[in-house]
């Protein structure tokens, strides 16, 4: 076929949004935040059904003692897939969906800051989900738990490809989550409507803004760990294999350094929803906005430093236990502050007991129980007794279901009218609610007691001990109520979408900006924005006689930060975490030397020479930027080509070093030093390579005549990334090559 014609047709059909809107593929190629949000939520719903059925099978297996409905290995696969799916493919996508839909509306923006990146982030979810589930066809699903503890997750103990698919899938999902977080940060900082200052952000937006930073800090840690696990499995590395000097406990540290913040990554969006719904249905502004906002920051910061309480049973030693116990108890303070604020908001309010509010009230009660059992795990001796029992299973399901899922269900009922233009049925919603309350509590309350009488978790069956039988049967019976609740919900969504009551712009008489536009909003979100002087613009319009007090100064005249630079800085923040983990792991193994090649065999002088090339390239890039600013096109191109050449020389130097090492028989699998060395320098080299590709693209664009106006924030943003890659090399150079000189 004729090439140019094809391209023209392609552009005609796909790239022109006006024409594209008529195609059925419009939903697949969309970059509109509202459609992407709906895609996120529908994908989450599909995986919710899958993971729910997995849970149903597990509970059927555990309903009676000595059951042989499922084989032990199948059971292990089920609980691994159930946990992984619920966390990465249900709760994260559904909350991301809500944020995607509501957050730009709440700040009066037209879309997210990076619409294409937004689509990328979404499509990572189905890709990750398919990869994860493809493992079933490729020899069996992973059976190592969602935490994939080493060395169980290593080749000698999990030889089939399940764990590989698991790790790659989570890596893809983590990458998508990071891109989403970058987008949220850039959107909130750069795309706020005039008058919407940071202090006037609705709590849902503020909390998810804070949450984006937790995602940026935590997900790269997991990605670094997964990369190391994959190197162990695919290239015969030794990171987490104690038999070769590796450390299985290191995996736990890395996993929980991600895993505990992850709990808050899941929970904070739920807190955000509750913080919107409770005031609206209590007909009062939130009690202590500042405390809810600030306690979210406290949670975000503290959540990074409490992961050790997941590892009390590992035997970290008393000093670590004591410090982690104290820091874990502290995190209860900001969470407690929030519960107090929500309750105080309801106090004295004219509460409307409609479905969103019912879910929030149940959320409050169940989250309180979850918090109390959570605090009990900060008490080390109690933790030793209950950590590996059903008490813990009950605790985290109270967090994940009792708090998060309930808040999400409330959020669905609350925002569905905005998304579809039609109300969900209130009576069917109440059925969903009560079935869920009964089912959830039937299933999980009794599990606390099962744990306390000694039933361990992660077992496929159990002997017929006194009371265990009826308690498990009771727990299983609750699952049927929850399943019924889910069916009613899906039925409600389907029926209401076609035949629900027309919602109108603001069915709940709410106060934030998403209710100031039509339901569903037009493509560009708003035709005109109301004046924004405080945190409840719609209240001010409805009650001009007694408006809210004005919050903070108006900063409409202040220019918002550039979204390209903000985005790349957020990305650099996450990359710093990734390299931080790789460098710390390298140091850990450096301090435990193994027989075989070590850092002393490396050629320092040669590496220094090539390092100079890399460092000089930062300078040449800076010259290129200056030339761009002064509109000297030739000079800019020259310095840019020079930068690319220097970067390439550095890469050639790295390849030369690898070649020499390979020649002398040093490979990733040789010993721990080699594994850690190739991982750290290899990932850095990969980043240099990606940076070079980016610079080549910019070179091509500049060659074509872009940036002629003399300002290119995208060019400067690429520069930030290039400088960052150089700075990382300073640390790598010091850690790998210079540190051994001091011995």
């Amino acid at each position: 076929m004729n090439g140019p014609t094809t391209i023209a047709m392609f552009q005609d059909a796909v790239l022109d949004p006006a024409k594209r809107a008529h195609y059925r593929l419009a939903w697949l190629s969309t970059v509109d935040h509202k459609r992407i949000a709906v895609l996120y939520m529908l994908t989450a719903l599909v995986f919710f059904v899958i993971a729910g059925v997995e849970a149903l099978f597990m509970r059927l297996q555990l309903a009676i003692p000595n059951n042989h409905f499922l084989a032990p290995d199948t059971f292990n696969q089920l609980f691994t897939m159930h946990g992984t799916t619920m966390i990465f493919l249900v709760v994260m996508p559904v909350t991301f969906g809500f944020v995607n839909y509501v957050l730009p509306l709440q700040i009066g923006a037209r879309d997210m800051a990076f619409p294409r990146l937004n689509a990328f982030g979404f499509w990572c979810v189905p890709l990750g989900g398919i990869l994860l589930h493809f493992s079933v066809l490729a020899g069996g699903a992973p059976a190592v738990g969602w935490f994939a503890y080493a060395p169980l997750s290593e080749t000698p103990y999990a030889g089939w490809q399940g764990v590989d698919y698991w790790a790659i899938a989570i890596f893809v999902l983590g990458t998508g989550s990071i891109s989403f977080a970058i987008n949220v940060i850039a959107t909130v900082l750069c795309l706020r409507a005039p008058g919407m200052t940071m202090r006037r952000l609705p709590l849902f937006t503020w909390i998810n803004f804070v949450n984006a930073f937790i995602i940026l800090a935590a997900l790269p840690v997991l990605n670094a760990g997964l990369a190391m696990l994959l190197i162990d499995r695919q290239l015969e590395g030794h990171f987490f294999l104690p038999a070769h000097g590796g450390s299985a406990v290191l995996w736990q540290h890395i996993f929980w350094a991600f895993g505990h913040p992850e709990v808050y990554i899941l929970a904070l969006p739920a807190f955000g929803m509750v913080s919107e719904i409770i005031p609206v249905f209590s007909r009062k502004p939130i009690f202590g906005y500042e405390f809810v906002a600030a306690s979210s920051v406290a949670i975000a910061v503290l959540s990074m430093g409490v992961w050790g309480h997941h590892m009390f049973t590992v035997g970290m030693g008393r000093p670590l236990d004591v410090f982690f116990a104290i820091s874990s108890m502290l995190i209860a303070i900001p969470t407690g502050v929030k519960v107090l604020n929500w309750t105080a908001t309801m106090l004295g309010g004219r509460i409307r007991f409609q479905v969103p509010m019912l879910f929030c009230i149940a959320f409050l009660i169940q989250f309180l129980i979850a918090g109390i059992t959570g605090i009990s795990h900060a008490i080390v001796p109690l933790d030793w007794q209950t950590k590996n029992s059903y008490f813990l299973v009950a605790h985290f399901h109270f967090v994940a279901v009792g708090a998060i899922v309930f808040a999400v269900l409330g959020g669905i009922q609350y925002w569905f009218p905005k998304m579809s233009g039609r109300m969900l049925s209130e009576s069917l919603g109440k059925w969903t609610f009560w079935l869920m309350v009964i089912g959830f509590n039937l299933t999980f309350v009794i599990q606390h007691f099962l744990g306390l009488v000694g039933m361990p978790r992660r077992i496929y069956t159990y002997p017929d001990l006194p009371n265990w039988g009826w308690m498990n049967m009771l727990s299983t019976s609750g699952v049927f109520f929850m399943s019924a609740s889910a069916l009613v919900l899906v039925w409600n969504l389907a029926v209401s979408f076609f035949r629900g009551k027309i919602a109108g712009d603001n069915p709940w008489d709410a106060w934030t900006l998403e209710w100031a536009t039509s339901s569903p909003p037009p493509h560009e979100n708003f035709y005109a924005l109301p004046p924004i002087r405080g945190r409840r613009p719609l209240w001010d319009i409805a009650h001009p006689d007694r408006p809210d007090t004005i919050v903070g100064p108006n900063t409409a005249d202040v220019t918002l930060p550039d979204h390209n630079k903000t985005g790349i800085l957020a990305f650099i923040f996450s990359e710093a975490g990734f390299f931080g983990i790789l460098i710390l792991s390298y140091l850990y193994f450096y301090a435990h030397p193994q027989p075989g090649p070590g850092p002393h065999g490396l050629d320092l002088k040669r590496t220094l020479l090539f390092s100079v090339c890399l460092f000089v390239s930062s300078f040449t890039f800076w010259r290129s930027e200056i030339a761009l600013r002064h509109k000297r096109r030739g000079s800019m191109l020259g310095w840019l080509i020079f930068t690319i050449a220097l970067g390439a020389v550095f890469l050639v130097g790295q390849v030369g070093e690898y070649w020499k090492l390979f020649q002398s028989g040093v490979e990733v699998s040789t010993n721990l030093f080699a594994t850690a060395f190739f991982t750290l320098t290899g990932f850095h080299g990969l980043h240099v390579f990606i940076g070079l590709v980016a610079l080549l693209i910019f070179l091509w664009l500049a060659w074509q005549g872009d940036f002629a106006s003399g300002h290119g924030s995208a060019f400067e943003a690429a520069g930030y990334y290039w400088h960052f890659v150089d700075i990382v090399w300073v640390f790598v150079l010091f850690t790998v090559y210079i540190l051994p000189l001091f011995q």
Binding site: M198, R199, E290, A293, A294, V297, A298, V301, L302, M304, G305, G317, R318, P319, L320, F323, F324, I326, S327, L330, R533, T549, I550, V551, G552, P553, N554, G580, L584, L587, Y588, A591, H592
Partner: protein, 256 residues
């Protein structure tokens, strides 16, 4: 020496210290007179004394790495913070000191004060030589002051904006936590002096036996102190930034 005897007798009062305190107060009142906030200055002096004449000081002096860490944290984060708070509103930095009031310099000073003095050679030297120890103390106070200037300088316009302040504090917290993590998990001694202390006070058997502080455990506690409680100081400062942000400025003034 028993533990009780130790905590009652190991206070190293001496006339030089007392004279220095009196001189410090005199200098403070001469410099700032009525405008200063002497309570904060008193707090700074009190914490400084806690670090240097209490039994903690005796422990930090060659016995326990963890006690040294407490001293270190007090000198970098607590004393300079009180010193800056004690300054009058009218206080400004004059040339050339005003060049130190740059966020990057402040950040590097604050984080550098932690990292630099825990390089094994320097840490050892400070624990064995009085001279190096004095240099260390002075440098920690100065670097800590440069760090805190960005956050609690006397006047609002001298400080970072609250949200920038949070980024400043959070990144500093992370950088110090990383050091804390390295110290906690390091299999080798960061400050070998503390492995085999010279038993000047006859306390070693109590420390190792009764208190259960082996040298490994001691270093672990030292690392954890830098990792967890020190981060809590930063977290407190972050919350203070949020409080400052939400309380200022008054809407009526700026919205008219």
């Amino acid at each position: 020496m028993t533990t009780y005897q130790f905590f009652t007798t190991a206070w190293t009062w001496n006339s030089l210290v007392l004279i220095l305190i009196v001189l410090a107060f005199v200098a403070y009142f001469v410099a700032f007179g009525q405008r200063g906030r002497p309570l904060y200055f008193g707090a700074a002096v009190a914490v400084f004394l806690l670090a240097f004449i209490s039994p903690f000081s005796a422990l930090a002096d060659g016995y326990l790495f963890s006690a040294h860490m407490v001293q270190h944290i007090l000198l970098v984060l607590i004393v300079p913070a009180f010193l800056l708070l004690s300054l009058p509103q009218s206080f400004s930095l004059r040339f050339p000191l005003n060049y130190l009031a740059h966020p990057l310099i402040g950040w590097v000073a604050g984080v550098g004060a932690m990292w630099l003095w825990h390089a094994p050679t320097l840490c050892n030297a400070a624990a064995t030589s009085r001279m190096v120890s004095a240099i260390q103390t002075t440098s920690l106070l100065i670097m800590g002051s440069i760090f805190w200037w960005q956050v609690i300088a006397p006047r609002d316009e001298q400080r970072l904006s609250p949200l920038a302040g949070i980024v400043y504090l959070f990144t500093a917290c992370t950088a110090c936590s990383v050091l804390g993590i390295i110290l906690t998990f390091a299999p080798v001694s960061i400050c070998p002096v503390y492995q085999h202390p010279v038993d000047r006070l006859g306390m070693l058997s109590s420390i190792r036996g009764q208190w259960g502080l082996t040298s490994d455990r001691d270093q672990q506690i030292g690392g954890l102190l830098m990792w967890v409680p020190m981060c809590l100081i930063y977290v407190t400062a972050i919350l203070a930034q949020l409080a400052r942000w939400h309380s200022s400025p008054h809407p009526e003034q700026s919205n008219a």
